[in-house]
């Protein structure tokens, strides 16, 4: 269980000392505070503009989202599926509000415009990096190493807000799973995780471990619990 502390107004705080806020709730009051993402100013007060954890660092006040659909950030690695092939690129679905666009200029080889489907066809999964976020949607790229079409293995979908738990501190959780099952794991920040191993049994085992992590993501000492869970699978 997460240790819950009580605030002055008897509301609960989470382990990091951040407080849950609901839309329209006053976070702090004072002229010198600046509203960041998810917060806005109303007169003297800084008010939550969405549901989440209020983070007050020095003068800057923001609300960290804890639920809802994945919102793309520049530099995120995501796993997306091709839903449309246009004359100069591909439209990909990544589970967000809009579609992602992969231009042929963002693919590290020459592509004949008549043969776009030879490279990425409908339904193909692509690991890509977000390089621009616009109101219309996002632009992605596969130019860097490690990105491109996904072949073999399986994709496990989890709640995107639980991805940090699957990765662990500096990737500790991912390497724990890799060592236990021998599978390769690519985590997309949109909650899609590509698992590929030597046998389907290994992959199913990995999937079970990932689901266990997401189900128990709010408990303390998660690593030990996952280690114990891995032993029961053998």
């Amino acid at each position: 269980m997460v240790k819950v502390e009580k605030n002055e107004d008897n509301s609960e705080m989470n382990a990091q000392g951040r407080q849950m806020v609901v839309p329209g709730e006053t976070i702090v009051s004072g002229e010198h505070f600046l509203p960041g993402e998810g917060a806005y100013r109303d007169g003297d007060e800084i008010v939550a503009g969405r549901f989440g954890l209020a983070d007050v660092s020095d003068k800057f006040v923001k609300v960290i989202p804890v639920s809802g659909v994945y919102q793309a950030r520049r530099g995120n690695s995501i796993i997306a599926t091709v839903v449309d092939v246009t004359f100069n690129g591909w439209l990909l679905d990544f589970g967000g509000a809009q579609n992602a666009f992969l231009s042929i200029n963002e693919v590290p080889k020459f592509i004949n415009k008549n043969e776009l489907r030879e490279h990425f066809d409908f339904g193909d999964s692509v690991a890509c990096k977000v390089w621009d976020v616009k109101a219309r949607g996002i632009d992605v790229s596969v130019k860097m190493r490690g990105y491109g079409k996904i072949e073999g293995g399986m994709i496990v979908t989890v709640n995107p807000h639980k991805v940090p738990r699957v990765i662990g501190k500096e990737g500790s959780m991912v390497s724990l799973i890799k060592n236990a099952t021998g599978c390769n794991i690519t985590v997309g920040q949109n909650g899609r995780i590509w698992v590929s191993g030597n046998s389907i049994d290994d992959e199913i085992k990995t999937k079970k471990i990932i689901e266990f992590i997401c189900d128990n993501s709010i408990t303390h000492g998660l690593t030990e619990k996952v280690e114990a869970f891995i032993k029961t699978l053998k």
């Binding site: 609901v22 839309p23 969405r50 549901f51 804890v66 219309r136 639980k162």
Partner: protein, 242 residues
């Protein structure tokens, strides 16, 4: 009030400004982007939010901002005699008024060409289903992480003969003595205290309407506290690391 009425207690023993026992819970549908349940006495509403997602058919898309779409429905077994499931004239009206009631709290400027779908189901009805639906939908929208300036709380204030009562149930809605029954659902926004829904079914004088609104404001403040507490208790969002 113009005249003091003979009624001081109600059929279920409540005081005239007393709400029915309220239960609220957030995160009841794990596969949805946001979900909530709101129960007031024997009226229960479940709200599920999906989206923002691309709006189809394409001609309905708004390139300037996202669209809010409400889908309200009573389940066939929600009342004693079966109700025909599916869209009806009544449910279409309620979809529209709930959309208008919630629109001023949410900000969909970030999501052009997208839609936020709100599905409201009533598994059990005992009057006041649209206000229960609004209360559940406001919680579900917040839970879905939609940018919101404020919350919305709604309550139905009624008039039995000459007595004004808060949070009417079915028995009170069907009251027939004296001047009969009047039903006034209203929705108050949490921060600006604006009224985003005000409907009237029956007869009421302008003075009494003012009284109704001030009673409604008091009741909505209570409901807001319950909504806030339920959101903060949402199980699936607690203790998340940065």
């Amino acid at each position: 009030m113009a005249e003091k009425s003979k009624y001081t207690k109600r059929s279920d023993g409540r005081k005239i400004e007393e709400l029915r026992p309220i239960k609220a819970e957030v995160g009841i549908v794990p596969s949805a982007d946001g979900s909530a349940m709101y129960e007031s006495g024997n009226t229960r509403a479940i709200a599920v939010v999906r989206g923002p997602r691309t709006l189809h058919p394409q001609h309905m898309q708004n390139p300037q901002k996202g669209t809010l779409r409400v889908n309200y429905g009573m389940m066939s077994f929600s009342v004693w005699d079966r109700i025909k499931p599916g869209p009806s004239r009544r449910s279409q009206e309620i979809n529209k008024v709930i959309e208008w009631a919630l629109a001023p709290c949410i900000d969909l400027a970030e999501f052009p060409n997208s839609v936020v779908d709100v599905f409201i189901q009533i598994p059990q009805a005992d009057a006041g289903t649209r206000v229960a639906g609004i209360n559940a939908a406001a919680m579900a929208l917040a839970h879905a992480g939609i940018p919101m300036k404020q919350m919305a709380s709604a309550v139905a204030v009624g008039k039995m003969d000459k007595t004004l009562v808060v949070d009417v149930d079915k028995e009170e809605e069907d009251f027939e003595e004296g001047e009969g029954a009047t039903d006034i659902p209203l929705c108050i926004l949490s921060r600006t205290q604006e009224i985003s829904l005000l409907q009237l079914d029956g007869k009421i004088s302008p003075e009494e309407l003012k009284e109704v609104i001030s009673m409604g404001r008091k009741a909505c403040a209570e409901i807001l506290k319950i909504q806030t507490a339920a959101l903060k208790k949402a199980k699936d969002v607690r203790g998340i690391e940065k």
